[in-house]
Symmetry: C2
């Protein structure tokens, strides 16, 4: 079973990486880009003993809270794939 966790800065938090990418795109002539936000994701390969998608989602959500995201400034979304 596989799971993916998307982590993004909360909308109210300034994203300097995204700002730099937006500026670089502008300087390359892509003037239609008005904003860029950067995020990350983690693809987790879970062992086959996890067969219940709901249980896997709960476990991965726990991992996101504890390690993968910083809930103070980041939000996350968990997707469980069969």
């Amino acid at each position: 079973m596989r799971a993916r966790v998307y982590v993004t800065l909360k909308p109210s938090v300034f994203d300097p990486q995204g700002r730099v990418v937006a500026d670089a795109l502008l300087s390359l002539g892509y003037e239609d880009v008005s904003d860029v936000r950067q995020g990350k994701f983690f693809d987790l390969e879970l062992s086959d003993t996890d067969t219940d998608p709901a249980a896997a989602r709960a476990r991965v959500t726990e991992m996101a809270e504890k390690l993968l995201a910083n809930p103070v400034i980041e939000s996350y979304r968990v997707e469980v794939l069969p």
Copy 2:
């Protein structure tokens, strides 16, 4: 119009960040995690003069090739959202 570009290391490329996250999860007791790969994504806000999704996709693919991804070691996927 918005577009999202997902960038991941190609499967044959070693992912040290993912390795460290996998080790950290193991040490937290999540022994069912057998592998982690980390990727990133860019959310692009495009100005409203881009109304043709196919043209926007072509432009964003060009941005990915030129700036957002390193096609030697990374693969990318473009998603255009209305």
